[in-house]
């Protein structure tokens, strides 16, 4: 039977001290609460403290710690681009020679209109692509124009690629690693 949660974010000494063990469960509850978003109350960290059995200070310390550890990569408003009118979203996938993929990945990640950039494995013969980037735009023409610029700037004219526009979102929400579905 697998563990019901990942233990990565528990304190290292959680097995040795009873009091830290209690707060380890509090931290787990905090993670779960945070996945739903920060409460819109005047003292949201106090609200989270009440829901998790931690103190307000412990809640703020944990969040600050998770930010500096990189577990939290961004703390702020999470925008739904589609609602705002970003109606065109293309996943562009590339078949980049292995020895160039890292340099190109870094270069693409720095382009302002590219919102995500990942290296993933090829699955031959069906799937020859190893670099993925996401372009969000207000319409299809604009996204294609941005893509044309990218190809020019990075000299990608001879690189096999595919453009996968998304035409429907069946689900879009934040990751829930510890919440139950």
């Amino acid at each position: 039977m697998s563990q019901p949660f990942s233990a990565d974010y528990l304190p290292r000494d959680s097995a040795t001290s009873r009091s830290t063990e209690v707060s380890a469960w509090g931290l787990l509850r905090l993670r779960k609460q945070l996945e739903q978003g920060l409460p819109l109350t005047p003292r949201p960290f106090q609200t989270l403290a009440e829901r998790t059995g931690l103190s307000e200070q412990e809640v703020m310390d944990a969040i600050t710690q998770w930010q500096s550890d990189g577990l939290i990569k961004r703390f702020g408003l999470v925008v739904k681009h589609r609602t705002l009118g970003y109606n065109a979203n293309a996943m562009v996938v590339w078949n980049i020679p292995d020895e160039q993929v890292q340099a190109l990945g870094k270069a693409m990640a720095a382009v302002p209109f590219i919102t995500l950039c990942y290296q993933r494995p090829r699955r031959l013969p069906d799937w020859p692509y190893n670099l993925f980037c996401m372009i969000h735009g207000t319409n299809r023409e604009r996204v294609l124009a941005q893509l044309a610029c990218l190809i020019d700037d990075q000299n990608l004219q001879h690189i096999q690629h595919a453009v996968l526009f998304s035409n429907k979102a069946y689900r879009q929400r934040g990751g829930r690693y510890v919440s139950h579905d």
Binding site: Y9, Q36, G76, Y118, N167, Y170, R171
Partner: protein
């Protein structure tokens, strides 16, 4: 969706670096020349209007548990049905139709890799469709939020 100047300013200023202090909304209010109550009201209205999915942390997937991008090639006529089945599987948080032979793309998350594989195996078995499993090898993008081009939207 048209938003007024204060809503736009909120979005432009606080996709990252939300203050971690006793009264974060008061601090935001001070920086934007609003009141705390107004900030809370605006944020809650923006959530209701689906402009914001939430206020809060974006967790780093590779550290927060296991997650994987997967795709299936569903028969065109059964797209909605297959998408609904995918959404019923545990831990699916993104699921998009895309223009390609592999036409349904989803992200599944689980507390660990073992469970993730189990859930994917079950789903693949249930769907009877071959599934591309594309774990992240390396992420090059640092998530700083996304500068909204208000001009292009207006």
């Amino acid at each position: 969706m048209t938003l007024d100047a204060a809503d736009r300013q909120l979005i432009d200023s606080y996709q990252r670096n939300l203050p971690v202090c006793e009264r974060p909304y008061e601090e935001i209010a001070r920086s934007l020349g609003l009141t705390e109550a107004e900030v809370i009201h605006r944020l809650s209205a923006l959530q209701e209007k689906q402009v914001l999915s939430r206020v809060g942390p974006v967790f780093e997937h590779s550290q927060a548990g296991a997650s994987l991008l997967a795709a299936v090639a569903a028969p065109e006529a059964q797209m909605d049905l297959v998408a609904a089945r995918i959404n019923r599987a545990p831990g699916v948080n993104h699921n998009y139709a895309r223009e390609h032979t592999y036409n349904l793309w989803f992200v599944m998350t689980a507390p660990d890799h073992e469970l993730l594989d189990e859930h994917l195996d079950e789903l693949e078995h249930e769907l009877r469709l071959p599934m591309l499993r594309l774990p992240m090898v390396e992420g090059y993008h640092i998530d700083l939020g996304f500068d909204i081009d208000w001009e292009a939207l207006s």
